[in-house]
Symmetry: C2
Subunit: 143 residues, 2 copies
DNA sequence: ATGCAAATGAGAATGATTATCGTTCGTGTC
DNA sequence: GACACGAACGATAATCATTCTCATTTGCAT
């Protein structure tokens, strides 16, 4: 449906296959920024592509390991992925409509570093999710 | 094995049954502060009690809803519970040995409130997990 | 065009959690 | 203390997300 970019895959050490190109394209040119495996699978389905769900899971994990995507574990049991654009950020999620907003707070980040240091921990990763309701009037996002 | 406390259950609107008393006792008098359903199940098993795994899951969820326990979703796919002692705190988890330390940082808490307010969100809940390695020398906690 | 390892897709398998359902237990009544 | 009855239990089937297996297809280098 769009131009494909085999360079990104090759440079990530991944051979350029059709399913991989389709998934990457979805994240780069699709409307949803945060998507689960099932989301990706359905969108590819809807656009007439015949990809297996197992392949979607496989590719998402590979992309994560290759640093192309970032995985998040919001509440609800399913992993959500987004394009890795290098800039770390955390998320605030609306429990009514599922809308996700991103934020970065340097004060929080530095406090985390201090907390870990004080306790003799080497930080590997961290996750901060705020759950709430976005103002009812603007809530009409999608389910 | 210890004194049982049916009051807590009754006051929580829960009928005082043997499995419930055992589970509650584990959290109040056991050695582990943070436990998964499987952890609880095994510990009860080991102490000779015949409780069903389904009952453990049921009771943990009931206790959570009754406000007796708090549920956390650390990485690893399984829910972890701890006694609800009223004071909110976040967690830093060692990815090597599984050791968990708790912390509360008012600066982080207030920044979160501000972030939500700025975006028109009413906070329902939030989760902050820091993952890392605790200093190798003190790491010999359990797997 | 050929060859072959790597990737894919269908479906089975897994691990955590929940739902079902016949049996047992807790508690209030006589 | 015996009874009654609905709540709770325990064993097991079912569900859900995700991973694994394996026969078939594909990407890519000869
Ligand atoms: Mn994001
Ligand atoms: Mn805790
Ligand atoms: Zn909303
Ligand atoms: Zn450790």
């Amino acid at each position: 449906m769009n131009e494909l970019e085999p360079e990104h895959l090759k440079s990530a050490g991944l051979k350029s296959t059709l399913p991989r190109l389709k998934v990457l394209d979805l994240f780069k040119n699709g409307q949803e920024r945060h998507m689960s495996a099932e989301n990706v699978y359905q969108l590819l389905r809807d656009s007439g592509d015949n990809v297996g769900l197992a392949t979607v899971y496989r590719v998402l994990t590979q992309f994560e390991q290759a640093g192309l995507l970032v995985r998040h574990n919001f509440e609800g049991g399913k992993s959500v992925f987004e394009l890795n654009e290098g800039t770390h950020h955390d998320h605030i999620v609306c429990m009514q409509c599922g809308h996700v907003e991103e934020f970065y707070d340097s004060a929080i980040e530095s406090r985390q570093k201090k907390i870990a240091a004080d306790r003799g921990f080497t930080i590997h990763d961290h996750s901060l999710h705020i759950y709430g309701d976005c103002t009812k009037t603007k809530c009409p996002h999608r389910r």
